[in-house]
Each structure stands twice: as structure tokens, then as C-alpha cells.
């Protein structure tokens, strides 16, 4: 598993709950390390241990922790690069939803060894969609749930989401889009300010 996901959890816990809480999570994992490197590889089992330890230390269900992580990834100033990369997916929220099918391929364009979970969007009608996520990490669909909620806000769309387990360990997120242009949304310029 790519270190990006472990680093994302690290960044989320540290920024939201503080360095001491993150240190407690890492002690709980008994991995013998204090932090992760985004560009290195780790065993997928490591991610499961970190998620379980975070849920234990934060005294919250793992699904909720992961959902908050998804929201954090879009909203935090520390991860604006990711939010921008997601926004490249589409002009509006519906366009963005359809771009999720391509997300693993897009991620691999940037990082050839980075394998995102496969996602498949089904459009039932203009308001109703469902997204199936086949994630190697348990509960990965919850990250997508938090991420979708935050992206809907980012685009100014009004939508509700519901997650349920699907067949074969996959997560299915039901999306109900009430209004695509509900609010102004956050501004997105194709060319970012020069870093």
C-alpha cells in the first residue's frame, strides 16, 4: 500500500487532534515507527492497524474516523493540492461524479505505483447515482463518503449520501442530488497560483 494513504491519516489526526494524539495512535499500532512517508510503500496491513488504533484512541467507530478523513482531505489547507487535482475531474458535481471512474487511472498518471480502489458510478436518473468502491483497505468507502460530501460543498451542489455494504466486501454509496447549482461553490482556477 502506498504511503500516501498512511500519511493522509497521519496528517488528519495530527492536524485535527494534535501531535500527542498521533503519537498515542502510533504507540497503539506497535509498528515501532513514529510517522509515515508519503512516497514510500508499506504493507496494506499497516493501514488497517493504523485505522484500528486511531478509532481506539479517538473512541469513535472506524467508519466515522475515515469519513472525517475524507472530508479533511478536501477541506484542509494542508491538502489543497489534492482538492485541486479532484476538481480537475469535472466542471460541475455531476461531471465530477462521472470522473470518479477515471480516478484510479488519473492517480496512476501522477504516481505509477499508486493503486486507488476501483470505483464505478451508476446513474439511475439525473438525481440518483450509486458509487461502488472496491477498496483493499477495510472501510475505504467511508473515506469516499466524507470526500464526496466535501466535494459537493466545494462545487456548491446540494446532495445527500448514504453508505451500505455491497456484495464481496465492496461499499456502495447512494447519492441523491437535490440541486447541482445550489450554492456558489468554491472558486477553481485551472492554473493555480505559482507555488
Amino acid at each position: 500500500m502506498h504511503g500516501l494513504i498512511n500519511t493522509a491519516i497521519q496528517c488528519f489526526v495530527r492536524d485535527t487532534y494534535g501531535a500527542a494524539t498521533w503519537a498515542a495512535v502510533m504507540r497503539k499500532t506497535r509498528l515501532g515507527i513514529e510517522s509515515f512517508e508519503a512516497m514510500l510503500g508499506y504493507d496494506p496491513a499497516v493501514t488497517d492497524r493504523v485505522v484500528a488504533a486511531a478509532a481506539f484512541v479517538l473512541r469513535r467507530p472506524a467508519g466515522m474516523v475515515l469519513e472525517d478523513l475524507g472530508t479533511f482531505l478536501v477541506c484542509s489547507p494542508a491538502t489543497q493540492a489534492l482538492r485541486r487535482l479532484l476538481r480537475f475531474g469535472g466542471v460541475g458535481f455531476v461531471d465530477f461524479l462521472h470522473s470518479l471512474d477515471d480516478l484510479p487511472d488519473r492517480a496512476r498518471l501522477a504516481l505509477p505505483q499508486f493503486h486507488l480502489p476501483l470505483m464505478e458510478l451508476t446513474e439511475h436518473d439525473a438525481q440518483r447515482y450509486s458509487l461502488r468502491c472496491r477498496t483493499p483497505v477495510g472501510g475505504g468507502g467511508h473515506i469516499m463518503l466524507g470526500l464526496l460530501r466535501a466535494m459537493a460543498d466545494d462545487y456548491g451542489a446540494l446532495a445527500t449520501f448514504e453508505i451500505r455494504p455491497g456484495a464481496g466486501g465492496e461499499d456502495v454509496i447512494a447519492i441523491h442530488l437535490a440541486e447541482e447549482g445550489f450554492a456558489e461553490g468554491r472558486r477553481f482556477d485551472l492554473a493555480a497560483a505559482v507555488a
Binding site: 512516497m39 487535482l85 488519473r106 501522477a110 504516481l111 485551472l190
Partner: protein, 329 residues
């Protein structure tokens, strides 16, 4: 053209052409711009239509295109153009003739100057044809920058870690012997054990001459050979350290009489006096050694012992090199 799959004379309304090619220009046979795609209107303000093409654009490559006749001859070829007065931002283009000799249609794109153009003209996704990979290119530029920044940070952290590891290292990387740090630790340990031990300080003779005449590679080869000779003399538990350019210290725990220590030193000097071959040429060195002994009585301190060995070493040097001297003898 034979083999074409198009029905002859495809007719498209202007909106369709705008969507297919948001950066096209229609040029009349006299070079007047008669139509222009919506994205190009953003670049040229409202003043494109009705103006002479060659007043507004320059064709940089191929050279020598100054009029419609030149442009017609280059129909179907890749062109490099620029809007006059827009600095260096270049455009790519392709001109094809319109049916019936009604002029040319010239389609443009940004090429590698895309990012600057998007910034300068505040372009959005809808300014590009849906088939255009411009937005994917922008995505890649950003993804690459983000990844490069992560890697840069990672490299900085690794560099720090390497430095820290080097500072903790106990080995001399050139010879594989112990280094000054390791010697200090071994000496402190020997003193703490209060057992008898001997300290030999050795300095190579004529080493500088080898370096100066045969080069540093020869010098390094000599140092590695010295390390082998020293290691061959050492017993389990002894410490051999390279503590400077051509300075070595041997820490020999256990009781030993001055004649025994001299014998060890003489064997080492004997070994080092043999010429060392480097690329077919002999390197001749020798060694001077100073020896001191800690008996275990009292509590010697490391600095005093090292100063004693050092003093004995200089006695050897003064007495003509290539020999060993016992401190206080």
C-alpha cells in the same frame, strides 16, 4: 482524397465549428479574418474579426510566411505562430483550405505554453474542446509538482537521517577500521574496567610523498593495505582505529610486557616497510610508533594516556622514524 471516410463536403454550422475548434480562425482569400472561435476571442479581445490576419499574427516557423499565398502552400503542415505583442507565448496551428477557394480555416492550440496562457487569459475548462487534453496536461503539471515537492521533502529528511547516522557511525569508511569515536568509546571502557592495557599510536612515514607523487588513489590504496597489516596483527578484543589521515591507534587490552609490545610494533613496522604495489609501481612507506601502558593501578585518564603515546611517537620520529618507542623508557 480517395480512401476518406467522410461524405463529400461536410457542412457545419458556426456553433458546431466553435465547439469542435474553439480556437479557429476563418481567413478570407485576401487574409481578412472573417470568423474566430470563442477562446481566441478571449485572447484577441473583440478586435480580431475584420482585421488582416498578418497584422495580428506572425508565423514564426516555417520561415518566410508573410501572406496568404505562403500560408496556402503550407496547408496541412504544423505551424508555429504568435499573437503580435503577446510576448513569447507561442501557438501551434494547422491551416486547411475551405471548399471552393473561399480562403482558409486555421485551427490553433497553445502547445507547451498552455499554463501561461490559462493564467494570462483566465481560461476555464469550457474554453477547450472536450476532446482536447489541455486540462489533463494542467492536471499532470500540478500532480507532478505535488509529487516532486513530496520527494524533495523526503530527500531532505533522508539527508538529515544519513548525516545523523554518519555521526553515530563507528567505522572509518575508507579502511573499514574503527574511527575516532569508536576508539574513544573503547578507551573509556578499558579505563572503566581498570584492567591493564596498552595503547599504541602509529603514524605513517613518507605517506605524504606517496600522495604527492602517485596521487590520492595510491594514497587510499596504501591506507587500505596498512589496515590489512594491522588487522592481521590484532587479537580478538583489540581495537584498531584510524584517527586521522595517516594516524592509527591500537588499543590492546590485557597484560603485556614492554618486550612483547615492542615485538608486536616491530612486526607491524616490518610489514609496512615492504613496498606496496599500486598499478605496477611501488609505494614505499614506513611507520613510527609510540607505546604507553596502563597498568590498572590508579585510574589513568584517556587524555593523559593519549598524550603519553603521542610523546613516545614523536620520540620515534625524532630518533629517525621506522621504529617504536615505549613511553618513559
Amino acid at each position: 482524397m480517395d480512401g476518406s471516410d467522410h461524405p463529400a463536403g461536410v457542412a457545419l454550422d458556426p456553433q458546431a465549428i466553435d465547439r469542435l475548434m474553439p480556437m479557429h480562425l476563418c481567413l478570407a482569400p485576401d487574409g481578412t479574418i472573417t470568423g474566430c472561435g470563442p477562446t481566441l476571442r478571449k485572447l484577441g479581445g473583440d478586435g480580431l474579426a475584420g482585421r488582416p490576419f498578418f497584422d495580428l499574427f506572425e508565423v514564426r516557423r516555417p520561415g518566410g510566411i508573410a501572406g496568404m499565398a505562403d500560408l496556402s502552400r503550407r496547408a496541412g503542415q504544423r505551424l508555429y505562430l504568435a499573437l503580435k505583442g503577446q510576448g513569447a507565448a507561442g501557438l501551434r496551428g494547422l491551416a486547411v483550405p475551405l471548399a471552393g477557394g473561399r480562403g482558409l480555416i486555421l485551427n490553433l492550440s497553445f502547445g507547451v505554453a498552455l499554463l501561461d496562457a490559462v493564467r494570462a487569459f483566465q481560461l476555464t475548462d469550457s474554453d477547450f474542446a472536450p476532446t482536447d487534453l489541455a486540462v489533463e496536461l494542467l492536471y499532470l503539471v500540478e500532480a507532478k509538482s505535488a509529487v516532486m515537492e513530496e520527494l524533495r521533502q523526503l530527500n531532505l529528511r533522508l539527508q538529515d537521517a544519513t548525516l545523523a547516522a554518519e555521526q553515530r557511525a563507528l567505522t572509518d569508511t575508507l579502511t573499514g577500521l574503527r574511527n575516532r569515536r569508536a576508539l574513544d568509546e573503547a578507551l573509556a571502557e578499558a579505563i572503566a574496567r581498570r584492567g591493564p592495557f596498552a595503547l599504541m599510536h602509529m603514524d605513517l612515514d613518507f605517506f605524504k610523498a606517496v600522495n604527492d607523487t602517485l596521487g590520492h588513489a595510491a594514497g587510499d590504496h596504501v591506507l587500505r593495505t596498512v589496515a590489512r597489516v594491522l588487522t592481521a596483527e590484532m587479537r580478538q578484543g583489540d581495537t584498531v582505529a584510524r584517527v586521522g589521515g595517516d594516524e592509527f591507534v591500537l588499543l590492546l587490552p590485557g597484560p603485556a610486557t614492554p618486550p612483547q609490545l615492542r615485538a608486536v610494533a616491530d612486526r607491524i613496522i616490518g610489514g609496512l616497510t615492504e613496498p606496496i604495489a599500486f598499478e605496477g609501481r611501488p609505494c614505499r612507506i614506513s611507520a613510527s610508533i609510540g607505546i604507553t601502558v596502563a597498568t590498572g593501578a590508579g585510574r589513568p585518564d584517556a587524555a593523559t594516556l593519549q598524550a603519553e603515546a603521542d610523546a613516545a611517537l614523536y620520540a620515534s620520529k625524532r630518533a629517525g622514524r621506522g621504529r617504536a618507542t615505549m613511553f618513559g623508557a
